[in-house]
Amino acid sequence: MMKNATVVDVTDLVVQRGRVRAIDGVTFSTRPGEVTGLLGPSGCGKSTLMRALVGVQIVQSGTVEVLGLPAGDKRLRDRVGYVTQAPSVYDDLTVAENLRFFARVLGVPATEVDRCVEAVDLTSRCDHVVSRLSGGQRSRASLAVALLGSPELLVLDEPTVGLDPVLRRDLWAMFHRLADEGTAVLVSSHVMDEAERCDRLLLMREGRLLANDTPRTLLDQTSTEDVEDAFLTLVDQAGAAA
């Protein structure tokens, strides 16, 4: 893969959901080896944007390319890992059974199962039925499925919500480790304090991108101390300009 090739390339994306314009002309790209944070209040269109990236969202106009192919292309299906906000694993199977099943669907060796369970720190819960796990453990089981086969792009919808701070720190460390190995990681969050852990930030509000920069540049440009203030400043600026 070329060093500067983009992994995700979104141009003028518009998504209409019912009467709501969920995504209103969004353009951005991400590169391999970067952890990109998609931040914004809940309901701002983060999940819809992520669905568009993995090709499960009907879009009105614009283009979404992933690894040089149209999003959702058949050839992308084992190259993109996707975690929805609600854990999508089978409640009545154990963690290991869930992973073994998805590993077989993806055609990756069974050794991947142990590696991915370990990566999300669920080894001790491996043989527990998912419905008996806590919410955080369930979402980690769902995350483990996305890690199977080391996909080139990871699209993670709020993977750290409700987790204890130590675990959150460990997961972010893992995202960076994966990025260092060349994976492009896109993580959404509505918690602004997670922004500092990202290489690049996409700030989103009401279906539009407010900013697309590194956390440092963002703070410098808005003369603020934290991302929450930067977000507010950008909202005010956009309001004044309108």
Binding site: R17, G18, V54, G55, V56, Q57, I58, G72, K74, R77, D78, V80, Y82, T84, A86, P87, S88, V89, Y90, D91, D92, L93, E97, F101, F102, R104, V105, L106, G107, V129, V145
Partner: protein, 252 residues
């Protein structure tokens, strides 16, 4: 379609069933209990309808109804839990998903029918003219038909509660018109015409033919059974094809 993924889906569905002891017990024991109840009901009755004439249609109805319910609820769960979306975002083909379910539930139906048939012949004294193994074949086809219809209606239900309500809508009219209560050719012409286009009529006809007639070819199976069975399988394939259309990779 890939055999690897189809088998993965089938194995997973069976693992889920194995874990759910109550459902597994209901699937395997309940049909036997109902047939035993039916036999007992007619134990002291003389003449007219009896266990010999009602037993075979019930062997057709039970796998159909049970698989309709089980499939509509499980597929709905796959749709609402996000696992279907995840599977379709992976290299899973719609055929793999449907085929895996058909395989798993077909196998359950086979075990269910073998148990029910063994009970009918071994204990309850059911008497049929045709070959006994054919009863199991017909029952498995009926189960696949039930699964296929269940899958199809699951696309129109938002909740499990709604999915269960489809049973009276889809199954009851077929139950009334399938010839169980009154022979189909004695119904008002309009109803007979309707019963001619309902799959369960052919499922029950096939079962009744196996139990009442003997053919000279193909292991003693009346040719009419094969044509009825072909209609049942045809309906199942059509429902699966339409059902496949309701599995969407891209949604609003």
């Amino acid at each position: 379609m890939s055999p690897r993924i189809t088998f993965a889906v089938a194995t997973r569905v069976l693992t889920q069933l194995r874990r759910d002891h109550r459902t597994a017990a209901m699937l395997l024991v309940l049909p036997c209990l109902i047939l035993a109840l039916l036999a007992w009901m007619f134990a002291d009755a003389a003449g007219g309808l009896g266990f010999d004439s009602l037993g075979p249609p019930l062997l057709a109805l039970i796998p159909f109804i049970v698989m309709f319910l089980v499939t509509s609820v499980t597929t709905l769960r796959e749709r609402s839990s996000g696992t279907l979306e995840r599977l379709l975002a992976m290299p899973t083909g719609k055929g793999d998903f449907l085929g895996g379910y058909a395989l798993a539930f077909g196998l359950v139906a086979a075990v269910q029918s073998v148990l029910a048939v063994l009970l009918c012949f071994g204990v309850l004294g059911l008497d049929v003219a045709g070959p006994v193994w054919m009863l199991v074949v017909v029952a498995v086809c009926d189960a696949v038909l039930g699964s296929a219809l269940g899958l199809f209606v699951s696309a129109f239900a938002r909740t499990e509660f709604q999915a269960v309500q489809f049973l009276p809508l889809v199954v009851f009219p077929q139950l009334l018109l399938c010839g169980l209560f009154i022979p189909r050719d004695q119904m008002p012409p309009a109803l007979e015409a309707i019963s001619n286009v309902l799959p369960l009529s052919y499922a029950v006809d096939a079962m009744t033919s196996v139990s009442s007639t003997v053919g000279d070819a193909l292991g003693g199976v009346d040719p009419a059974v094969w044509s009825d069975l072909a209609v049942v399988v045809g309906f199942a394939v059509a429902a699966l094809a339409v059902g496949a259309g309701t599995l969407r990779r891209r949604t609003e």
